[in-house]
Amino acid sequence: MLTNEEVAQTIIQQFGQSVSDFDDPYDLLTFTADRDQLVPLITYLREHKTLQITFLTDVTAIHYPDTPGKEFCVVYHLHSLVNNFRLRIKVYLSDGNVHVPTITPLYAGANWMERETFDLFGIIFDGHPDLRRILNMEEMDYHPMLKQYPLEDATREDKIDALFGR
């Protein structure tokens, strides 16, 4: 059984300054990594003899419009099927520089996940073989999950409260 403590120590020993903010909300090991160390980090976790974190569960992003310098956060969920151990890596990006290296060479499954993240959040994955929208229509000229858009179109008259007896 791997514990969060052990794994965190292993990662800190290897990457030192480029990883930070270790935490375990709901017992899920979570930490922040630097953009330029992301690919070596995930490669290291995959090739490690005892950790064997060889499965990419998910790639997504979060938008924090009110946090200056850390407007975007790309989140990687990894899973070790051998040890039944999960962890979460966060990479913070600033608005205007939403580039992050792709991990498709490591995990082919990242291809569609990164396309989805690009589609909904506008994160650019450098080196991705085919970075185009996957869910929304090609003609769409914005990234709908950004929090700058209101939840509802305020100009509409066909779904006002009065029509629903509210």
Binding site: L135, N136, M137, P144, Y149, E152, D153, R156, D158, K159
Partner: protein, 181 residues
């Protein structure tokens, strides 16, 4: 003949011994109304409800809609049941364009009629944004009885439609407002 069998009433006509005189409009309307072949475009929960409508309990075939056509060929009635995403919009429009006149369209359920609860960037807020609609069936999802009622409404439209309606300027204007033709 057993008394519980219902026959369709004949059109208004002038009857005499051995002959019956009526207008072409009514005769053809009668034929069209009682053989509306549906093209079910079912995407979600309303589609399941529509399957129920086609099955034995509700039996859509009673209305002459015996053959659900999954191609636009020979289909008269486009039944759009379920959420239509904006990405699906062009497909619905293409299916509509491939159907031959006369054609009727029914929007089944809240989503097809207005986007329903999905007041969001990815969902078309009602199919009447891309194709003309004849009958809207409310409900989320509507019961099969409501869908049958919608079909009967379309039958009424088909019965009472003038033969030249599809050639009128008004109809051309309607289609042009959707950039059709």
């Amino acid at each position: 003949m057993a008394s519980d069998i219902k026959l369709v009433e004949g059109p208004e006509s002038y009857n005499g011994a051995g002959f019956q005189a009526t207008s072409f409009d009514k005769l053809i309307g009668l034929a069209r109304a009682n053989s509306l072949w549906p093209l079910p475009f079912a995407t979600s929960c309303c589609g399941i409800e529509f399957m129920s409508t086609m099955s034995s309990t509700y039996d859509l075939a009673r209305f002459g809609s015996e053959r659900p056509s999954f191609s636009p060929r020979q289909a008269d009635m486009l039944l759009v049941a379920g959420t239509i995403a904006k990405k699906m919009g062009p497909v619905v429009k293409q299916v509509y364009l491939q159907m031959a006149e006369p054609r009727w369209v029914m929007a089944i359920g809240a989503c097809a009629s207005s986007g329903g609860i999905f007041d969001t960037y990815s969902v078309l807020q009602g199919i009447d944004r891309i194709i003309p609609v004849d009958v809207y069936v409310p409900g989320c999802p509507p019961r099969p009885e409501q869908i049958l009622d919608g079909v009967m409404q379309i039958q009424e439209l088909a019965k009472n439609e003038s033969l030249r309606r599809r050639n009128t300027e008004e109809y051309q204007k309607l289609l042009n407002s959707y950039n059709i033709q």
